[in-house]
Symmetry: C2
Subunit: 333 residues, 2 copies
Amino acid sequence: MAVLRAIVEDYVATSEPVGSRSLAERHGLGVSPATVRNDMAALEDAGYIAQPHTSAGRVPTDAGYRLFVDRLSAAKPLSGAEKRAIASLLEGAVDLDDIVDRTVRALATLTHQVALVQYPSLVRSQVRHVELIAMEPSRMLVVVIAESGRVTQRVVATPTSLSDDDVARLRARLIALAVGQRFGQIADELIGLEQEFAPEVRDAIGDVVAAVVEMLAGQSEERVVLAGASHLAESAIDFTGTIRPILEAIEEQVVMLKLLGELAEDSGEVSVRIGSEHTHSGLAETSLVAAGYGAGREVVAHLGVLGPTRMDYPSSIAAVRAVARYLSRILSG
Amino acid sequence: MAVLRAIVEDYVATSEPVGSRSLAERHGLGVSPATVRNDMAALEDAGYIAQPHTSAGRVPTDAGYRLFVDRLSAAKPLSGAEKRAIASLLEGAVDLDDIVDRTVRALATLTHQVALVQYPSLVRSQVRHVELIAMEPSRMLVVVIAESGRVTQRVVATPTSLSDDDVARLRARLIALAVGQRFGQIADELIGLEQEFAPEVRDAIGDVVAAVVEMLAGQSEERVVLAGASHLAESAIDFTGTIRPILEAIEEQVVMLKLLGELAEDSGEVSVRIGSEHTHSGLAETSLVAAGYGAGREVVAHLGVLGPTRMDYPSSIAAVRAVARYLSRILSG
DNA sequence: ACTGGCACTCTTGGTGTTCGAGTGCCAGAT
DNA sequence: ATCTGGCACTCGAACACCAAGAGTGCCAGT
């Protein structure tokens, strides 16, 4: 439907209901307003567009955006300037935190929307190293380093003290059993490990092992960082009420994690969730454009942008795809 | 000035310019509106209040709020329910991240404003432990644990490999020199440490030591977490334009760190920065109520709330003070 | 030093009224 | 069959206008 596409494009550009006359003029479709009106009536019957009130122009509905996005054959490619912008914004990152931070900022400035980047999930990652540090005889610092470079640590208080010897032995066993394994599988590997130790330290050993498993279980440590929340203020006109529920939603880690978690797992490809398709009611007037990224071929986490349903989908999709690929390449190399 | 106080209280409650009649009635000061008008004229000449337009009520100026806050003798004590709320919100935190997270949320829900909590600053903190982990012969994970429980880590790639022996010796020396010291003083202690080692590994040792110093210099790792940004949407009426500049400001770590850093060092006491007193122009219509907190007697970092200049200062001050004390107690114990 | 009164000033809110963009529909042209 | 031009109709946005009310400053009187 050329008309639907024209309506969406016009509405995105002007943010005002688009009428038949201006539409026929602005887009060079060589037909008269009356013809456009007929098409519009059909589109309205089908539920793809709606008018805010009688005798006003038409506005795309969520269904209309959905059709528009699905029919979108070729995503607008990024301009050279944009590619260079991505490259220069991500250049020179020193560690994982820095990479994620730069990525989310790049995405926000590129799209002028709220950008989200999920930290590489631990579940699918591999362990590079495990370290135990006895800070005091009964206080142990446990450090786990993922293949992706992410480091997590926790202090464990043990019921009984552990000798240096015990600690060294436990460290060696943990390294032997865990390094190279997937985070998700390690719980099984470590079962019964405390049985290898003397009965009087088993409780303490068990606690430490449990801490490792818990850290690896990892869900509790999943994180989303975001940037560009201020762009919401700019888009405030697109929302009926206040932007409050949206600010509330993006501030809640769990909500954002759920949002990204619900996405399809198709690596590399961009998926879009529009307005009422969201499960969270506060986001009913927003759309999410997101993609998976990962080191190597596998999707490790997601990133995306959140904006008003009246957003520039082709550009957003292109930007998200480009950034996701760029990030994947950085993590692989 | 009883009249100024009454004006501020009324304006905070209603968010509308307050006139002489309603003021004389609502607050039981037994004088007539005409008398109040005289006082108001004096206050206006002195610059403490202003009228948005002729024949409208008066609104406090920044100077007016300032005087109000300074003359505020007794901060309103928290209700028992609020104290219990703080306690229950902070109960059961497992590590430093969790404590900070809970604190900032508690402050936000308590005050209905944007809450800020700075991570305990490393500069003033003491070192509890330093650990080196050779992940590969020429890749070293450096971990520093502060007295406050905060852990920072970094991976250092060294130009030459280090033997296990070198690593062990370096670890021992670092622990000997650094543990118990102030972060700010450690750079001096570690000068020339690499000279104790064989010439062929001096470069590598120097790199590791430099990394430790850099981590301790710490500015780069200072962090502020915030919560309750959505409350800004609620206060939107209090801002002349959009809330955009404010959202932008609070999203920038450096701006927030500067903001908290500029505060007076008086431990335990609450300081207030009002509207135009801010150096950052985006915050010209906001006020910050902040206090230091720390383990023991010393101020380690700051926390506070940011809201419209038209905020309930007595309540905010009380809440900030209470939370700062509570947090200090947790960190000390 | 406080009070009551009075004239004056503005904002606010309600009511028409007009203007224009936009619609639906129908008869005619292609 | 499909598109087009024309026409009557609708309804929100913009504007002017008016009345009400809240608030002020000032002055004379207690």
